[in-house]
Structure formats: C-alpha cells, structure tokens
C-alpha cells in the first residue's frame, strides 16, 4: 500500500481500461445483477468511463459475453494437469469437481456457458474449448479407450454435467434480477395469493406432502451419486 504505487489499487479512479478489466467487471456485474442488467452503458459506468470506450477492447456485447464465458474456463486445464490423476476415473472425477466448483462460484453466469453456441458444433458445454476437449480425449486414449469410447464418454460426461449443474445453480440464484409481480386486474373480492403456493396446490396432495423434501438441498450427494453411476456405466462398456 505504498503511495509510490501507480494508483493501481485506488478505488476512486481505476488505472486504465483493458480487455481483462472489462471482462472481469462484466462477470462481476452479471453475478451482482443478472445478465440482462449487464449493459454496455452500465458497465461503462462501473468502470468510470463512457460505454463507447469499451468498443476499443471488445467488438460488441456478444464478444464480451463470449469472453466472460472463456474466462470462466480459464486455468481449468492447468489445474487438472497439476492434479496428476492416475486412473481415468480419478481424472473425470477431478474435472467434474472443478467444473462444479466453477458453477457454484458463478451461479448466475454459468447458464451462459451452457446456452451460448460454442465455436464449433461438435463442442459441447460446459467443456467447450478445443484445448480442454483435446486434453480429455488424449487422457482417455492413454488409459486404453478406443476413439469411439472416448467420444461416447465425452458426450455422456458433458450431458451429465449440464443436467446436474444447471439445475443446481438454478435453485441457488432464484432471481438475481428481481421480478416485480405485475398486478392482475382481476376482481377485487378475490384476496391476494402470495405465489403459486396456494393456487393449484389444493389439487396436488402429493406435492404438498413432499414439499419439504422437494425443497431440501442434497445436490452435492446427488452429484456424487450420479457421477459414480456414470463412471460405472462407462467402465462396463469399456471392458466388455
């Protein structure tokens, strides 16, 4: 915190614009207020600059969102390599946990990783960059997978990750950009109904009885169980 620092750490007037700073601010804004609220103009405001200045570093809003998605996958390969896993099971488990960690750290941005079209049609979210796919396929082949088995595993693995994690983060964000309830212009003698809770629930005794259970969060255990089941299934096809 020496005053000699080129006002790098000053919060009043940030140092200078750069693609990295814009992407970081974009991600922060998304997590704070939701994707829709992350606007070129609001992002400019966050960075103490007019919106038009951003176009020196990103070619548009779409490019920025793409860069945010890429930044979420940044460093994944390095961390996976550092783990030095010895079996393919251990390898896939490590990748799965890394991705889950990322998703939980950025629950609002994670759906972008899934829903934005990857660069090539054969890339599957959330493992949607070539380097990561290469690493995964190479590792599986090293461990004795045939090409077909490696590709099938890539597809099943990505489907599992998307299904588990998208629904898990969905319960965790719930509504980052709060939605106002619009008044329904119905007759005034019907009393307010807070949400769905009282509306259809009379016709749904099982839902009522299991509502607590439905709300309970066992997502970690479910993730682990599903992952093990997937690995077992792969194991059976690979040693048939």
């Amino acid at each position: 915190m020496s005053p000699e620092e080129p006002d790098e750490a000053r919060s009043t007037r940030p140092p200078r614009l750069s693609r990295q700073r814009i992407v970081d601010a974009g991600l922060a804004s998304i997590e704070a207020h939701g994707v829709d609220q992350m606007t070129m103009r609001s992002l400019g405001r966050d960075l103490g600059v007019e919106a038009m200045a951003l176009y020196r570093y990103v070619s548009g809003r779409e490019d920025l969102l793409e860069a945010v998605v890429e930044s979420l996958l940044d460093g994944l390969i390095k961390r996976v390599e550092a783990a030095e896993t010895t079996s393919w099971q251990e390898y896939l488990q490590h990748v799965a946990h890394e991705i889950r960690h990322m998703a939980l750290a950025h629950p609002t941005a994670f759906p972008l990783v899934v829903s934005r079209h990857p660069a090539a049609p054969w890339l599957r979210p959330p493992l949607r960059d070539i380097a990561m796919v290469e690493h995964l396929l190479a590792t599986l082949c090293e461990r004795g997978f045939s090409d077909d088995q490696a590709v099938d595993t890539y597809k099943a693995f990505t489907s599992f990750l998307v299904g588990s994690l998208l629904l898990e983060v969905s319960t965790k964000t719930e509504n980052v950009a709060a939605v106002e309830e619009p008044m329904n212009e119905g007759s005034a003698d019907i009393p307010e109904q807070d949400t769905v809770e009282d509306v259809d629930l009379g016709q749904a005794p099982h839902v009522v009885r299991m509502r607590d259970r439905l709300s309970q969060d066992h997502s970690e255990a479910e993730f682990e169980t599903g992952l093990e089941s997937l690995l077992n299934r792969i194991e059976n096809t690979v040693s048939h």
Copy 2:
C-alpha cells in the same frame, strides 16, 4: 374453404387478437428467427397490429415468454394418462419420450423451458408445472415408491432430461439468428480463417482424428442408453 367462414382462415387479415393467437405467433417467431428477434414490435407486425395492442392480452414480454413455455407443456399430462402405462419404468419412459418429442419439435424454444425460473423454487425444468409433478409423484407412490425415493427420482429424472435434451437441440439449432462475423482489424497479410477449424487445431491431434466421430449424431441411441441406465439405477435403490 367456403366463403361463409368468418374470414377465420384468411391469411391476409387474421380474425382477431387473443392470448392464444399471440402465444402461438410468439412460438412460431421464436422458432423462425430466435428468441432475441421475437420482439413485441415484430410480433405485432406478424399479427397485423401495433405492438401496443398486445398488452391487452399479455402483461409484457416476460409474461408472453412464460406463456410460450407453458404452451409447450400443454397436453403432456393428458397424453401420458392416455398411454395407461403399467410399470413405473414404462411410465417414466413414456414421459421422457414425450418431452424429447417436444424438444425436437421446438429446438429453439426448448432452452427457454430450461432456463426460465419456474414459479416455485422446488420445481425443476423441464417438468416445471405443479400438475405434472403431482402426476409423476403420485404415479411413483402408487407403484410402491417411498416419498424420499419419489423425490430423488424426480430430481435425477429431470437432471437427465435437461442434460441430454439441451445438448441435443443445441447441435440442431446451431444459430437460428445468424451471427455476422465481425471483421477483425488485424494485419491484412494474414489470410482469412474460416472458423475455429484451422486456428487451434494444430495443437489438437486427437480432436482432429475424432472430428468425424464428434460430429456424428447418435443422440437417439445415447438418450435411450442413458435413460435405461437411469432406470436401472433407480430400480436398485428402490428394491434395496
């Protein structure tokens, strides 16, 4: 096609506005040009009316999108009941196939079913309305599931559907609203590179070798395999 018809089937000037007609036109527009292009103003144009007229029938764009999602699940319960399945395996299989059919019929709209926040936090896409969840839980309990087992099955089943179908329709839409490639202002002596194909691919020998395999579509078989595996897994926990 008798001229006595109250110009119901005329294409030149459609009969009258109604919520149903708006929702149908909205879905059609989404499938034709993508969600972003489905704008209140363009939808008015499609219906031969000013955008402001729509607000008599939908409270806003969000309400319209919500109604489109609901319309996609319409009739699902009735069709499932009509099938009169005898085992819970057959039941879940039938539901799964119905949902897959819907997803493939509306590949551009299906991501909305997944990504929009359901009415209650314990509802999980794509089985996101109470009546459907009630039906599923009731059926499983009839077949001998405990409450816990029914809820666990609901969660695993929805995760499976989301993961499989979201990635399947993703490969099938690819870019409904075509994205223009922005010129990169780099030096002119570097020749054009069509897409990712040539960029990083030098460093990715496994990807190159398996590229055809990665592009091949076996989604139906993968869906069936994954579904059977899931049912087996449930079967094991239910008869432990």
